[in-house]
């Protein structure tokens, strides 16, 4: 503590200064990672596309409002050509950014939430709870979770009905989000648990317990802040995986044709036979976007991992 009297106001100021210094320090170290910065810039561009697609290319073109003729090659009024219904590919791809990124974001949130809660609870409580939770985690780690997602998605969809809306999200997309969450939390839980195991042995946890802190309080105020580094790096990498899984699920026919994500556009390209017709512009734009976004997340995630967790360097 600095020389000033430890009044609550002073303490708060001190804590804020410390946080700011940590943040600035983190910023400097991250800025030294060129790959991370490149990834960040690309992601920023896609974030803008996802936030204001309508400002950039106008409203999403549907089967009834196409602006061109069927399968026009790039050029003229259509920079990236048109699909089989005459919809502008640039329009579809930019709107696809919003749909893909939102699904990816929500699926990541579900995954991290499940993984962090299970990891922290399992690591902190230990004993039988830990054994049972880790058995389940191991089971999900071994399982080909994508195949599980494949059979879970139509079952859940048929159970809730495909026209329904849940929390304002169309049920088709909701199911994809939930299914990605259910099937990919296990590795997050494993990583968080191992960190929680070591954090709970530290002195401040014992002190918190001595002054009467309950389990929930300790996990929330003491364990969580100390595993946050791992959670942040893991979130970014999970996002990349979620986008890829969404793309694959939509590609094989679990997407929503009315809300075309990049994977759904590729599905339409495939069922139209675009590769056989030589219509490369039908699948090149969404495919390029997917690669760029996933690659950027991987780069940023790797850089974050290095900066935040220097001891667990992943060296990818």
């Amino acid at each position: 503590m600095s020389g000033a009297a430890a009044t609550p106001a002073n303490l708060r100021g001190e804590r804020l200064r410390l946080r700011l210094r940590n943040l600035a320090d983190f910023g400097r170290r991250f800025a030294r990672r060129r790959d991370g910065l490149i990834g960040l810039v690309i992601l920023a561009v896609f974030a803008v596309l996802a936030i204001v697609p309508t400002l950039i290319v106008g409203p999403l073109e549907t089967a009834t409002t196409p602006s061109g003729l069927s399968l026009q090659a790039p050029g003229g009024a259509h920079l990236l050509g048109t699909d089989e219904l005459g919809r502008d590919m640039l329009n579809l791809t930019v709107h696809g950014a919003r749909i893909s990124m939102v699904i990816g974001l929500l699926a990541t949130a579900v995954t991290i939430l499940l993984g962090a809660v299970i990891g922290i609870v399992s690591g902190y409580l230990g004993g039988t709870t830990d054994t049972i939770l880790m058995r389940i985690t191991d089971f999900f780690l071994v399982l080909p979770t994508f195949v599980l997602a494949l059979i879970l998605a139509p079952i859940i969809l048929d159970l809730i009905g495909s026209d329904a809306q849940i929390l304002g999200i169309p049920s088709t997309l909701f199911v994809i989000i939930v299914v990605i969450g259910i099937t990919s939390w296990a590795s997050t839980a494993r990583i968080i648990r191992s960190q929680a195991l070591s954090v709970k042995e530290r002195m401040f946890v014992a002190r918190a317990r001595v002054i009467g802190g309950g389990g929930g309080h300790i996990m929330w105020r003491h364990i969580l802040p100390n595993v946050l580094n791992l959670i942040v790096a893991n979130t970014v990498l999970t996002f990349a995986g979620a986008i890829l899984t969404e793309t694959t699920l939509s590609f094989i026919g679990l997407g929503d044709p009315l809300l075309p994500s990049w994977g759904q556009i590729l599905n339409m390209a495939q069922s139209t036979g675009a590769p056989g017709l030589g219509a490369w512009w039908y699948f090149a734009p969404p495919a390029t976007c997917i690669v760029l976004v996933v690659l950027s997340f991987t780069l940023v995630g790797g850089a974050l991992d290095d900066v935040l967790n220097p001891r667990m360097r992943s060296r990818r």
């Binding site: 080909p144 994508f146 059979i151 590609f251 390209a269 495919a287 997917i290 690659l295």
Partner: protein
């Protein structure tokens, strides 16, 4: 190898497979419209009751239905397909499994040889030209869904250049004068999907092997070997490579689950008549028995592959036998 290590791994695998079968049972009961509605649609009351008795659906869920389901599964009875009328799930799967095994078996072999080779060389010459380019390309391939690679290859080598057929396993309606001709047709159809699978996997495997070899090169025994005056080539061949291969092999087995996801989509792009295209057909027809059969088949294969990798690892590396 320690008998206890082996026993524990086998027990774990059996436990996991038990879980998978239980999960499959649960999913079957969760199924929309429940089994009795699906089986006994539009039937008079008497016939319906008879059918329920025949399928054991009049008995309680646990234990009777569970016991019946598990024993049927263990005897290889996975039910009847909805889509392919009058055929059993096992029958449908059996016919589709060979094309998939050939495509992915060969793809894995190529990818393991090329990917591990590339990764080992990049890691050994860390920071060199091959490492720089190889690592960049691997990262891009790693971020690319397999089917995108497939679509690109298809449009270049099949649609534009016309070197390879676009879909299927054989030319439709072709008659062959001999076995060689049939084989040639098969190989022409196999070339592009196989290349897609191999390219898709090479990125992953080379990244794995690269970090594995970099880790190994920092080990004390490598420093010792260098101090003894061994040549760099000798250090790589007899000290670094064998030890770096171990974790890489395990990771290949663990990755099998992800590979399957890619497998399904590659088959769709090339209309390859394997488990992947079957999955999509079953998915669009909501053929749940077939989907469950696919889930059972693939997850049990992955568990067994992991078991084999664990056992191999234990046999090769005494440190893990605990």
């Amino acid at each position: 190898m320690g008998g206890r290590y082996l026993a524990r791994r086998v027990l774990q695998a059996i436990l996991t497979i038990t879980f998978i079968i239980l999960l499959n049972f649960l999913l079957f009961r969760m199924m929309p419209g429940s089994p009795e509605r699906v089986l006994a649609r539009n039937l008079p009351e008497a016939a319906r009751a008879q059918l329920l008795v025949r399928w054991g659906l009049d008995k309680p869920l646990i234990p009777d239905q569970l016991v019946a389901y598990v024993s049927a599964t263990l005897q290889g009875d996975l039910g009847e397909s909805y889509k392919f009328r009058g055929r059993s799930v096992v029958d449908v799967l059996g016919e589709r499994i060979w094309p998939t095994l050939i495509l992915f078996g060969l793809g894995e072999v190529f990818a393991i040889i090329l990917g591990l080779g590339l990764g080992a060389y990049s890691g050994w010459r860390r920071g060199g030209a091959v490492d720089y380019v190889g690592n960049g390309v691997s990262l891009i391939l790693y971020s690319m869904p397999y089917f995108v690679i497939g679509m690109a290859l298809l449009i270049v080598f099949s649609t534009s250049l016309g070197w390879f057929p676009t879909s299927g396993m054989y030319t439709i309606g072709a008659s062959y004068s001999g076995l060689e001709q049939q084989l040639a047709d098969f190989l022409a159809h196999l070339a592009l999907p196989l290349t897609t699978v191999a390219i898709g996997l090479i990125g992953q495997y080379s990244i794995l092997m690269r970090s594995s070899i970099i880790d190994t090169l920092t080990e004390d025994y490598v420093t010792t070997a260098r101090a003894k005056g061994l040549t760099e080539g000798r250090i790589l061949r007899s000290h670094a490579l064998p030890n770096a291969l171990l974790p890489a092999v395990t990771l290949v087995a663990i990755n099998l689950g992800y590979v399957i996801a890619g497998a399904i989509t590659v088959e769709v792009v090339f209309n390859w008549p394997g488990i992947g295209t079957l999955t999509v057909i079953a998915l669009s027809a909501r053929d749940y028995p077939v989907l469950q059969g696919i889930f059972l088949l693939l997850s049990v294969s992955v568990v067994l592959a992991n078991l084999v990798a664990d056992i191999l690892y234990g046999a090769l590396d005494p440190r893990v036998r605990t």
